[in-house]
């Protein structure tokens, strides 16, 4: 366990090695949340409810998405496909450490770093917008926490899936761009999925996209009944199992074709 803690610690230090990059990255996240809060504040100036959300609910949603995107969607696994394609993972596989444990420790350190910044940003935005944030009851909050952890695991497995493409090609940036575009409108900062037409919502719930932030936000906002919460958590687990199964299949297949020299 101590070696994973070491990986965690090193990743944490690496994360701050380029403070200007970190500052710019966080500033970008801050601006995106700031814009959404401004837009929805303007929309709610003339009315008390919109798209089935009250002003406090929508403002809470925007705050929440800022938090969820940093905790669930931020990842350091973006270069995995390139590392595999170039043969860099050979070194990793020779070491007496589980490669996926290593990657998970790195990802967890990155998420924790983001958590600190999100808290600081939320405090600044709180004083700028003075929102009335609605908090759920403790049991619901517990389900929310579980859904966040499951969402982070689902993204981790999907990032691994993008990574295995590296056994055959290093052209994964296009796929990831499209993936994040879909996330942008299924769990974006600008608007919740529930404002979209019903047929689009129904279709999207057959994909994993709503489970990266939207479902979590709805649990937090008390928009889901006990049955819907259970269904969402079960769906999350099923998606994790499906993606893990697909990943394991392609990982084994890829390893058989892997040339340590890279391409």
């Amino acid at each position: 366990m101590s070696k994973y803690l070491q990986v965690f610690s090193i990743t944490w230090q690496n994360g701050f090695a380029y403070p200007v990059s970190v500052l710019f990255w966080r500033l970008r996240q801050f601006l995106a949340t700031f814009m959404s809060l401004t837009v929805w504040s303007v929309i709610f100036m003339g009315q008390t409810t919109s798209f089935g959300y009250s002003r406090p609910e929508m403002i809470t949603y925007v705050f929440l998405i800022g938090f969820l995107q940093s905790m669930i969607l931020a990842t350091v696994l973006g270069n995995l496909a390139e590392d595999i394609y170039q043969g860099k993972i050979s070194y990793q596989m020779m070491k007496p450490i589980n490669m996926f444990g290593f990657l998970a420790a790195q990802d967890f350190a990155d998420k924790l770093k983001n958590f600190g910044f999100v808290i600081a940003e939320t405090i600044i935005l709180f004083f700028l917008f003075r929102p009335q944030i609605t908090f759920p009851a403790w049991p619901v909050f517990g389900f929310f926490a579980v859904s966040v952890i499951l969402g982070a695991i689902l993204l981790f497995v999907i990032m691994l899936l993008f990574g295995v493409v590296g056994f055959w090609s290093n052209e994964t940036w296009g796929m990831r761009f499209l993936f994040y575009m879909f996330i942008d409108f299924t769990a974006g900062r600008l608007y919740p999925l529930s404002i979209l037409p019903k047929f689009l919502q129904t279709a999207l719930f057959y994909t994993p996209f709503p489970y990266f932030s939207y479902v979590q936000s709805q649990i937090f906002l008390n928009k889901y009944s006990a049955v819907e919460i259970t269904r969402s958590l079960v769906s999350l687990v099923i998606w994790i199992l499906i993606c893990t199964f697909v990943f394991r299949y392609f990982w084994k297949k890829g390893l058989r074709e892997y040339g340590a020299l890279g391409h």
Partner: protein, 275 residues
């Protein structure tokens, strides 16, 4: 042949050389795009989704909300479409800037500086984005069609001034990309700076009047992205602009000249040692 005629001929020859170089670079960029057609079609699809979904959001707002900070929702759509044009144009021409940090780190910049060609031109236009170019024309046509369906008041005069202000917007966008290059020369950091610029311009998807002070003034003067999108859209819609046309052009031109000055200063700091 007079002295001025000779100068004119030299300028034209120079212009022809620059055009040939840019055309060759664009041709190579096109070949590269075709070579990676699978990945690039995913990029194109992603861009179409982003454009469509934002439009869908604005049309949903139109159905549910009557006014938006003093603007009609139809007018807000024009603000977004204007943003879309300036954003795509800048990416289309200046995508090379996104790879500039590598040129500094690897020492590739040395080759640009030592050639008889303006290095700034070479860096700025080093890799035209063919995907954005492919995306640009259909979005323009869609935008014109959408604008024709909206309840807005556009006149021939407002349209002419709009085009003039869009040239000014392009000048400001060029200035921003030059400043990004300057930061890249000094710090080798480009990726986050250029994305920060993109995120700041994203604020102007909506009229800058919605933002509170001092951010509003900052967007109209200090980081003049507000002048790039809000003022042209206001002029097009025959709405009294937040800043006058003269102010917009003076700040735009001044910002561009400042970026050129910053470039000259940053090149002096370049050590060729890489990053």
């Amino acid at each position: 042949m007079g002295h001025s005629d000779i100068n004119m001929q030299k300028a034209l020859t120079r212009l022809r050389i620059y055009w040939q170089i840019w055309f060759t670079i664009a041709k190579y960029a096109y070949q590269e795009t075709v070579l990676n057609r699978w990945t690039n079609s995913l990029f194109l699809f992603g861009k179409i989704i982003r454009f469509s979904m934002t439009l869908l959001f604005l049309f949903l707002i139109k159905q549910n909300i009557h006014g938006f900070a003093g603007y009609t929702t139809d007018q807000v759509i024009i603000f977004y479409l204007t943003f879309q044009v300036t954003d795509t144009l800048a990416q289309m021409f200046f995508r090379g800037v996104y790879e500039f940090s590598w040129q500094v780190r690897s020492g590739e910049l040395d080759f640009y500086l030592s050639k008889p060609l303006n290095p700034l031109f070479r860096i700025l236009t080093g890799k035209p984005d063919i995907i954005d170019a492919t995306f640009f024309l259909p979005t323009i046509l869609v935008s014109i069609w959408i604008a024709s369906q909206l309840d807005i008041h556009i006149t021939a005069t407002s349209l002419v001034i709009y085009f003039f202000l869009m040239i000014n917007s392009f000048l400001i966008a060029t200035g921003f990309h030059i400043l990004v290059i300057c930061i890249g020369v000094v710090t080798t950091e480009v990726d986050n700076v250029v994305m920060l610029y993109r995120d700041t311009t994203s604020l102007t998807r909506f009229p800058v009047n919605i933002y509170s002070e001092p951010l509003r003034t900052a967007l109209l003067f200090l980081i003049p992205v507000g002048l790039m999108n809000t003022i042209p859209a206001q002029v097009l819609l025959n709405i009294p602009p937040t800043r006058t046309i003269l102010y917009t052009c003076l700040v735009g031109g001044g910002f561009f000249l400042f970026s050129l000055f910053a470039w000259k200063q940053s090149v002096k700091k370049y050590t060729s040692a890489g990053g």
